[in-house]
Symmetry: D3
Subunit: 299 residues, 6 copies
């Protein structure tokens, strides 16, 4: 998910622009135009840091100097300094909240992702932990990238990615077999085909129609077990990736994970992640007064 | 926070465009271009619904018919139908995820807000529950509006709203008194002035300098009590609004709320709100086949 | 200057969006969401009306019904009704100021233009009255169109229009002759060439180099007369259009206009035009109460 | 109204882009691609300068060097040099008109504002002079900022700012009292409430309902006096700010201003301000010829 | 590649806006504002039609009525009518060129694609004909969709699609094996991995590292044969898709196609396709005169 | 057609953004974030180079260093190096395809243009070779500029340029005479008037009505000869420019060119031009490994 910084910059600047409205009126009144400051972005809780690339781009595009002390993906403790900033005080204060909102959302998602993965690893499993498209609306890039930084799988990046045949598509096509055939006939050779099934017996129909991945949607752990047994019996197991999805949370994830399941996907990674608390502290500021805009006072 | 729908439509369409990329390839392969369907958006958990205006605008701007069954701000139970949709099947399926992401985020925030307010009300208090600018980056409008729908206070809508003098501004100005004076001298008559204080004794300096609102930042319940006593002693109580902020959560909110505190603000309303689970079900679809783009098969 | 309405709509909507910020908070608090109203846009001063096409597009694009009673270019008296509007009350009130700002600026320019033309006509002259590119920044389309509606000439619509060789270009090229030759060599056959001269004697150099138009920049009426005599003497008069420009105002325009001068251009038409006063009155409104967003009151 | 320069830059670049169309054809034909020049922006009339920040941002964002000689808000005489520019000649000439249009509009507004304020000050009054939202459409930021630089009050920055209840809102609500109550019930604690009244007797209703500011709309000086007397009589004077608005011009402003009136607002500041005349002169240019795009001539 | 029409509309409207500049001046001068017309879009050459969906969206979004007579993907002869249009004459004439440019480019690409496919089919082969990312810059969506309509494969839709490891990536990674391993380790389960090889012997390394697709870049037909023999010998044939690419044209395509080659990709489909000639004829027009903008003539 | 680079940059960046989607996933997986490289853009065929200004702007705006070795308009042979690039490897690889698409399209058009001009010159004629508005949709600026670089005439840059009265306009106006009169009455003095005629006899009507240019639309060489004879006979020859257009191709251009014809215009220059083949080669790369985003492996 590499974007040249000028492209990323535009996405981020729109976020800043919304927050600014017609400008930071408080800062304009109190902070001199030429004041300079040093500041630090500090983690207030422990977690996995994400959003450092975005933070750096935002700061540098505003003419501020930014020293990133913690790379994306690294674990920090509370009070760790993440970024050292220097430059125009007004600019720092005006961008503060947007900067923190980006870092705290992305780090919150990365932290949640990492915790889930570590549960899986502790259980000596290799199941992939993936997010879904259940993101904050408009933040597909940022939320998916935070999952990636946390160590998770991004799943489809958007609707032009992999074919994912859902229940509504199957209903329109008439059957699992017909849906996969219809898709295969027109799909580019460059894309995989995944299909969502809701009943155990549908797993073999999907595998026989040569889906690349089968999503076991809202299957209970017992149904998952039945499904893998069925595939083994029909000598289809191992010829298709299996993804468990639906109703899975941080609490019950180990009930769903197993050697037979290749991927577990959860909306909760992005829809339920709490932002990681981060703050910005001015550590030094130069307050040379300026006299702009002054009308001679009445004497 | 009223926006004419054409203005809102543009914000929402950008969200949809990101999710679409070069288009919904799955739907294009399986669903005929002229297919029509009926669908329902259904709550999968109980909560306070928000985002109905936005959902309606998104659907109608895409040429779909939308019947909103639950007004913004209403409580629903799991399985309640929120919206009935009819129109082109491809369009419904392509917009589904963006639609649900908007409704689930906004409803999650509204639900969290309402729960906090009800705690306050049960304690027979009238303290205002407000959000902050700690939103998902770029979603200032949507997150603030969801708080409003939940019954909360939107606080500053962006940086050109009310003057809010924070610790960093005070540091630059030299003192609470100087900061407020500097702000008052240049501020428009149309704006209120709020100042953030971090020590009990600063409360009387802020009140004497005639701030409209004092934010008690990271004060413990004990400090808050001391601060109000100090103001009463100095006959300044009641002349300024008091806002408690920092470290306040759903769990401890009642320790901070009291008759003396006018406003409690929490980043958690927006930064920690879990999305409300909603889904879209196709209830009926017309699958007349189309034969577009077909190349004569090899015989 | 015909633009299909969807293209114009986008330019106008950006104006509205800036004025709205995060939305009309007053209207949202007081006017019910479903309220409907009738309103009128009324001229408060006499003048030539412009901006009716733009007003109609703005209103209709917001879902309002608009009946334009006065076509662009028509003279009105104070109290004349220009537009009758009906539709959603919130939408009308939110768009009111942007609507009036467009109509009043464009009508102000059209009125000023018409007055200048009528002075010329009363003096039984046919000199063309043209504007320049001295517009409100970003309003090139609107200001030029208002001049056109007032009966004036739009001159260059932007920098890719006609070649206009100014003093700075001549300085770079070395001489009037070289500048015109350089331009002619590379210019598209589809474009005219105008050159700005600042001294009487330069007029014949410009005419001999076969400029299509000569701009007499900051010439006094006496200098203009000398220039035309010179051209006549050299049998070049009538082979090139003559444009007087610079320091010309509504007061002194007749001193510059003459049978020999084809065009008079003034920055003042757009840079000095006072907006025509127009207002919007709600003539009828339906105030059915709505109960959205209500939190059960504490009892 | 502080905006980081990257945000301002985008607003300004859109203005330039409109003026350029497909590019400056004259300059491309005559000025070599690598030519460099020095230039000066010069005031041609006396006035209060504004737009220097915007000018600097435009120039620097185009890769030109800009030395601002006169800070925003300073008075200049005719012929004063405002900015020294150096860099690529083509770029200077292509941006010239947009640059001048910004500076001349903003300086015109700042000059008008300052003159009004000085009238007030000479009369030994402290009445605030405020603008309205009657700006050139789309130029809300630039027009308001120019007023601020001139020493005036920006009033509402847009519709999400302070609550301003106008006649149409009162009509919908039923009465002044009901309108204010309705607004107060839902409004954020962070916002003031202003109400517009059109009759003397309404002033006390508005004050009793605890509006923060009362706008005396289209009141004659006599009505204003009656209104303040009424408030004094009812012991409400001094508890609410009073704003006179409507029909006030540079000529009659002193008839409206008084010790009792806190604010005078005029649409004329922005709707009637004449642009300040400024020009750009190339003071030095380097005309090294280039031979690009040349097709071998026919021999 | 299904996009809801509102999303497509925006892409297309930007094309129109560029062509319009400040508006269609010819049409504004000659065609009355209220004139209505009927028109037809006609093929002037035989070919496969594409762009009908886009044409319909453009026309309808401008308020015109459009009847599409030929579906995308259908072959037409010269003089066949493609679209019947009715509505405002000015709008039809202003949009004419943009409309025709879209249809003629897309149809040109679809026609070229279809011809290549028919060559393959006549040779009784099933080799997929794919385009590359060699499109007109900015027209990725339109060019790829035209290939699809012609019956071709769209290959990667953009850089976030399938992994495609090119020579430069291999050079950075150190070897084919390392590059594929590095990619596999981090790639989402949802994506295929393709690798480009430039020497016959590299084919087995790529297949052994379990690439999903191997691109034989600039292989001669002889090299392709050697490569498939090598794979067969190593029992790797059939376990990986083979794509021939580079130096392939309409003339030599059959030398490259064979039962062993799954895909042939050509930049020429999009980079070399000649636009199909189409024109728009007004078949009927209503010329009711209008008198707008008229200044009373001098008498 | 000079645009300051910041304006051009935006047009080009939108092209890049479309190709990137959510980012270059291949490069992100294989190329370290801090890797640096040197690369060359190389012509693979002989031709006239265009797009070097655009290429330089794209590269530099992404933070890469670009050395342009071949100026726009210069002929190159196959294997000539056009640009040397150095900088971040990921950025180079992500921008590669957009860069090449711009250069190859523009160079293809410039090459075609130059060939046509050279045919004309070899025939010892001076007829101008012009393009039309038949460009790739959205690429008006780039296609026209490429024609200019090739030595051709850009004709109208868009619809607000010169008046060009086409058959449909004449039909609406009633006659050639009426159409020209109608246009002349309202047109700005700054614009030329061209009219398209389809019959020999119409040429004299157009010339008598004082069109600046007459387009002989779809005239055969014989008809062109008749038309010029007719004009000579009526002493109108030389008073109007003559443009031949329609059905003219590289093959038959000399049949249409003659001393009497001033301009020949062809849609084929832009609609039929084959892209010039160019490629990018990494010549050196620094592959320092980075360890970002790594989750501790399971042991």
């Amino acid at each position: 998910m590499f974007l040249p910084r000028r492209i990323l910059e535009e996405k981020i600047r729109n976020m800043l622009a919304e927050d600014l409205g017609q400008g930071d009126v408080t800062t304009a009144l109190i902070v001199p135009a030429d004041g300079a400051a040093k500041a630090e972005v500090i983690a207030k809780d422990a977690g996995v840091i994400a959003g450092m690339e975005e933070a750096g781009i935002l700061l540098e595009s505003l003419g501020l100097k930014a020293e990133i002390l913690v790379p994306d993906g690294e674990k920090v403790k509370a009070k760790n300094i993440l970024i050292k900033i220097s430059g125009n005080t007004r600019t720092i204060l005006s961008a503060e909240r947007t900067l923190l909102n980006i870092v705290s959302r992305m780090s919150g998602i990365a932290t949640t992702t990492r915790e889930l993965i570590q549960k899986i690893h502790k259980a000596r499993l290799k199941t992939i932990v993936a997010c879904t498209r259940k993101v904050a609306p408009g933040l597909l890039y940022f939320d998916k990238k935070a999952v990636l930084i946390g160590g998770g799988d991004t799943h489809r990046l958007h609707l032009d990615d992999m074919i994912l045949i859902k229940d509504n598509h199957i209903a329109v096509a008439g059957s699992i077999k017909k849906a996969i055939e219809k898709a295969r006939k027109g799909v580019s050779f460059s894309k995989k085909i995944e299909i969502e099934v809701t009943r155990v017996k549908d797993v073999s129909a999907a595998a026989r129609a040569r889906a690349d991945i089968i999503m076991l949607d809202n299957f209970s752990p017992e149904q998952i077990e039945k499904a893998t047994k069925l595939l083994k019996k029909e000598h289809l197991f191992g010829k298709v990736l299996l993804e468990a999805s639906g109703e899975i949370t941080a609490e019950n994830i180990l009930a769903y994970a197993s050697k037979e399941i290749d991927i577990i996907s959860l909306g909760e990674i992005t829809h339920g992640a709490k932002a990681l608390d981060v703050s910005l502290e001015i550590t030094k500021s130069n307050t040379a007064a300026t006299k702009r805009y002054a009308v001679k006072p009445l004497n």
